[in-house]
């Protein structure tokens, strides 16, 4: 199913996954520590973020692959070791910035600059949506 053509919006898909995960986490962490529950919530946040994009971006696939492989998101950026030459397209002085960006955006390690910037824009948009969703949940739940 191509999510871009469905009538259900991306934020709703994100909310659906995340709320479901929160319910499940609550049921299964009654005797867990605060840190453990916190970690699971964070993983659920990144997962619902990745799932809501429908796998169109490399960062979402990298996050989901990392989750499947390790059974949890211990690191935010899953760095894929691709043996490929990077096209050096940015001006001098930008390479360091681009390298730092590659460490921050999941799955972007082997990308050329154009792709990296594209992925980054998408990643930031989704991060903002997830943060906004979590804020709304915190507001609603704490006012109950």
């Amino acid at each position: 199913m191509d999510l871009e053509h469905s009538s259900i919006s991306k934020p709703m898909i994100m909310a659906f996954h995340f709320l479901g995960a929160l319910s499940h986490i609550q049921k299964t962490t009654t005797h867990s520590t605060f840190v453990c529950r916190c970690h699971r919530i964070r993983c659920a946040a990144y997962t619902s973020m990745a799932l809501s994009t429908g796998g169109h971006s490399a960062w979402s696939r990298a996050l989901l692959r990392g989750k499947l492989r390790r059974g949890g998101l211990r690191k935010r950026a899953v760095i894929l070791q691709r043996p490929r030459k990077r096209a050096v397209r940015l001006e001098e002085g930008c390479q360091d910035g681009a390298d730092v960006l590659r460490r921050l955006v999941p799955g972007s390690a082997g990308m050329d600059s154009a792709e990296l910037l594209d992925e980054t824009a998408d990643y930031i948009r989704c991060l903002e949506e997830q943060v906004s969703l979590m804020r709304s949940i915190v507001n609603v739940v704490s006012s109950l």
């Binding site: 934020p11 709703m12 909310a15 709320l19 929160l22 319910s23 986490i25 609550q26 962490t29 605060f34 529950r37 916190c38 970690h39 919530i41 964070r42 946040a45 990144y46 169109h56 935010r76 490929r84 096209a87 050096v88 397209r89 940015l90 001006e91 002085g93 930008c94 910035g97 681009a98 730092v100 960006l101 921050l104 955006v105 050329d112 600059s113 154009a114 792709e115 910037l117 594209d118 980054t120 824009a121 990643y123 930031i124 948009r125 991060l127 903002e128 997830q130 943060v131 969703l133 979590m134 804020r135 709304s136 949940i137 915190v138 507001n139 609603v140 739940v141 704490s142 109950l144």
Partner: protein, 92 residues
């Protein structure tokens, strides 16, 4: 790997033009909050990258903080009954 992208990853540097890079840089600049850069066209690429990294880090930190708050709330609220209230507020 998906073949959806028209840009071939195996292509040499020649395929990616400077205009493309400039377009993407301005796209990125448009996404960053105004307070960080202003709308000045003359911001250097290095500055855009630096602010982008800083912004991503702050978003990650916010995710951590919100996860902690939710963890606290989860220990005191019944989520299944709260879900309806949350969905209602999202739909409005």
């Amino acid at each position: 790997m998906s073949a959806r992208r028209s840009r071939s990853r195996q292509a040499g540097a020649a395929r990616i033009t400077d205009e493309q890079i400039d377009d993407l840089m301005s796209k990125l600049q448009a996404i960053l909050p105004e307070a960080r850069l202003g709308r000045n066209d003359r911001v250097s690429a290095a500055k855009v990258l630096q602010e982008t990294c800083s912004y991503i880090r702050s978003l990650h930190r916010e995710m951590d903080d919100l996860s902690e708050r939710l963890s606290e709330l989860l220990s005191t609220t019944e989520m299944s009954s709260a879900q309806a209230a949350v969905v209602r507020s999202l739909l409005m």
